[in-house]
């Protein structure tokens, strides 16, 4: 991600960066054997503020959680944004691609 606004954001968020987080939707028993995850990968062009906004819009995350995932993408190269059934994961990846983020659908191993 571009660091156009990275410095201020990182300073502001440094104390809140935690271990990698994985968002899991509450699911029925029949869905639990269909583990897919939505992964967002780092991109040097997309602005950090833009990525945060996309996470808020697509997943409905509050700003702090969206920023945490954004920083995880920035520092670790990827972040698992969501996991659950394949159809829903495909929907999220399509939404992310619509915002031009690098996102993939992966089977949980």
């Amino acid at each position: 991600m571009s660091a156009v606004s990275a410095v201020h954001l990182e300073k502001a968020s440094a104390s809140t960066v935690e271990a990698p987080t994985r968002e899991t939707e509450t699911q029925g028993e029949e869905e639990l054997d269909l583990p897919w995850q939505v992964v967002v990968h780092n991109d040097p062009v997309n602005l950090m503020t833009y990525v945060t906004m996309v996470f808020q819009r697509v997943f409905g995350y509050p700003r702090e959680k969206a920023e945490r995932h954004m920083l995880e993408v920035h520092h670790k190269g990827r972040s698992i944004l969501w996991s659950g059934v394949r159809e829903r994961a495909e929907f999220y990846v399509q939404q992310l691609h619509g915002h031009l983020l690098l996102a993939t659908l992966e089977k949980v191993v």
């Binding site: 156009v4 040097p44 906004m53």
Partner: protein, 168 residues
């Protein structure tokens, strides 16, 4: 150049001819033709699994192309305000309706990604905001990427209600 929000529009005023020309180049800058890497970046693979990728290419990619095209056409329509020769562009004002903000964010992102991929800019270059646009086509393109990024930041700030204009 001054940039602020006026009512239900984002306003870019006191545009000099150079920046006005960069704005006019936004729609055409989204075109990845002749640069397969840029095309691949706009329509990146959704998975490592062939079956998913094949389905994606058939059903999702056309939708994404339509989405990107519609956004670009919206921006192009707004930019007709800047039509004219260089002299007439002096101190011109561009008004972007707030409801077009998403189309602008998307199109600016398309343009930034295509340009950056075509020139294969390094992280260091992308973070060098002080480089002069005068020197080479590469320097100009880097300036273009950063200028479009600045516009994105402004639009994002306005959408989140973090900025405002002085009243007239």
């Amino acid at each position: 150049m001054e940039i602020c929000r006026q009512g239900d529009a984002l306003q870019i005023s006191d545009l000099d001819p150079f920046l006005a020309e960069l704005l006019r180049q936004i729609p055409q800058s989204t075109n990845p033709d002749g640069a397969p890497a840029a095309e691949e970046r706009l329509f990146s693979r959704p998975s490592g699994e062939k079956e998913i990728c094949a389905e994606w290419k058939s059903y999702v990619e056309p939708e994404l192309r339509g989405l990107f095209r519609t956004a670009s056409e919206t921006v192009a329509a707004d930019l007709t305000q800047l039509n004219g020769n260089e002299k007439s562009l002096r101190n011109r004002t561009l008004r972007i309706p707030v409801e077009h903000a998403d189309a602008w964010l998307n199109t600016l992102n398309q343009a930034r990604l295509v340009i950056a991929t075509k020139y294969n800019f390094s992280d260091e270059e992308l973070n060098d905001h002080d480089r002069s646009p005068i020197g080479s086509r590469r320097d100009l393109s880097l300036f273009q990427v950063n200028f479009y990024g600045f516009l994105q930041e402004f639009i994002l700030r306005e959408l989140s209600g973090q900025a405002g204009c002085e009243p007239d």
